[in-house]
Symmetry: C2
Subunit: 390 residues, 2 copies
Amino acid sequence: MPRQAGRHFLQIPGPTNVPERVLRAMDMPTMDHRGPEFALLTLEILKGLKQVFKTSADVVIYPASGTGAWEAAMVNTLSAGDKVLMFETGHFATLWQVIANDLGLDVEFVEGDWRRGVDPAEVEARLSADENHAIKAVMVVHNETSTGVTSRIGEIRKAIDKSGHPALFMVDVISSLGSIDYRHDEWGVDVTVGGSQKGLMLPPGLSFNAISTKALEASKTATLPASFWNWQPMIAANKTGYFPYTPATNLLYALRESLKMLLEEEGLGNVFARHRRHGEATRLAVRAWGLEILCLDPEEYSAALTAIMVPEGHDADHLRKVILERYNMSLGTGLAKVQGRVFRIGHLGDFNDLMLAGTLSGVEMGLAAAKIPFNKGGINAALDYLTENP
Amino acid sequence: MPRQAGRHFLQIPGPTNVPERVLRAMDMPTMDHRGPEFALLTLEILKGLKQVFKTSADVVIYPASGTGAWEAAMVNTLSAGDKVLMFETGHFATLWQVIANDLGLDVEFVEGDWRRGVDPAEVEARLSADENHAIKAVMVVHNETSTGVTSRIGEIRKAIDKSGHPALFMVDVISSLGSIDYRHDEWGVDVTVGGSQKGLMLPPGLSFNAISTKALEASKTATLPASFWNWQPMIAANKTGYFPYTPATNLLYALRESLKMLLEEEGLGNVFARHRRHGEATRLAVRAWGLEILCLDPEEYSAALTAIMVPEGHDADHLRKVILERYNMSLGTGLAKVQGRVFRIGHLGDFNDLMLAGTLSGVEMGLAAAKIPFNKGGINAALDYLTENP
């Protein structure tokens, strides 16, 4: 096959498009991670990261991808046999639960249909029923990357409070951080788990834990073994700008650059508004096509991605293949139990109106090429919305 | 103003989007231009360049932008006071004529309305009238970047032949080379002038002369002073892969990469077909908007860019400003006598369907934002054409 000209449209829901400035920031010699210049880098980054997590608490950075930070949240705070309450909101919530099982935790896994977020009333009921406080942690995925459904973290916090239950509250924000408003402190989250390759516009390879005082306290008595993931030496070394072991130096250069872009140059409020606007434009296109959005509750629509169902008898992965071959665009596959039934459009990270217009045009042409029944005009619905809501 | 997120759409008719692979190819240490590795680089590039010009004749590479190669074509072949026949097809043809005047040539400049290419019959008539063969060169711009109008070089060659006139034939292909089919040998062109920053997908800074045997012969008696531009030492040094003075080393790395992409990976035939297809899709959008294409003759439509007239009483530069500010896209301004009256969409270089869809969406939304009267649906006309003509 001849070369496909032009830029590839990487519209999976992460890893996202890395801005060229961020790529160039990485493209510098690796420095001494015990030297004085490095300490300044670390301190600057940690200050910025706290703004992104909206916390004054500690944030640690692992030279590991998000799956590692999931594990870190648990091994620092829990002991073998501890009970945790988790919710099957989608593929990633399911995978987090697998890790909990691997670590010997006793998971109460609330089944779900992958089309809704966590129900705060369900959280309250489950915790209220747990009179002996056997549940040590409630664990929720903020933005389910497999479904385009968000869970209402603030309301879940209120539900926990109403139950009067002392369980820790842990939240995965891997695909929402830097894309969808998130408030670690205000929402009383104990451990927030983030990653580098989505809203932060970096390649994969860094992940984060934001840690409340209560979680830090719990870490002192937790007995699951933790060494690489251990918060204590990390927090201690970070105080002066260093790490207990080798950090991912060049990804930290990239993080400094992306934090500058998000916090100083665009502003988090603008970043979130941009994502909401592109989510709404995408959903208007989907409705105009006559296709169904996987997420059922408008209050839970994700601003980072949209998962779209193909009509019965059609294969979403065939559509994705046609779009990749003809239009040089990668869209997200349906994972696990929605494989072949949905495809996902990522509209997060370093993204703008004309990239969205190209993306939606590619889907519209792809639907025709893959002979999936649909109505034309999705692109127009999106452009009208973008025009009327500058 | 806050940072504009996402990729900038650089849709001026050149410099064009430089592929990241080409940027990375340049991003290497500058090498010894007298060393053995450099000779291999030069010889490989010259071989590829000849394929792009469709010539077996000599091609020289200047470490200078296109304006320099315009001058080179003349100082190598002509003498002060020589008469040359030139045609006002647009701004760049006019600028080439200014240089001819600067050099002391006697220019017969055929006026034009900027909406048509050179008329072969006019060439034949002018040459036939020149019984004493005072005209030493006929100079034509193949693709007028200011107007989106091409001139039919093959037909002009036939007109020259019919007149039996011995004038040299010089053609500027700066904005057509690597985008629109061009045949130096078959069309009997004596000097072809090219540049790096358009279809070749490079930054500006390199330019070319392809030189027929007849032109090389003329250079032996031409008396305009030439040193930097002098073909003879360049051709002599090139034989072994070197240059008579310092070449633009890192741009040559880039050129090697882009030639590989155009010739080996995509194929010139595919490259030209891609440009024609995007030109047609763009014109369908323009017609659906109810706007007028500057180029009057469909046979002369440019596959590299389209110049579009705004309705009377509206300012094309205001539209461009609105589009830049709202949609992060650069479009070409109207130059000189069409300033404010036209804007230009570049659809050349490293470009694909979804980049075009984003581009046309930006124009469609921009027309609305700038309150220029138009009909919606340009984007649909383009997408329908692209879908039906994969």
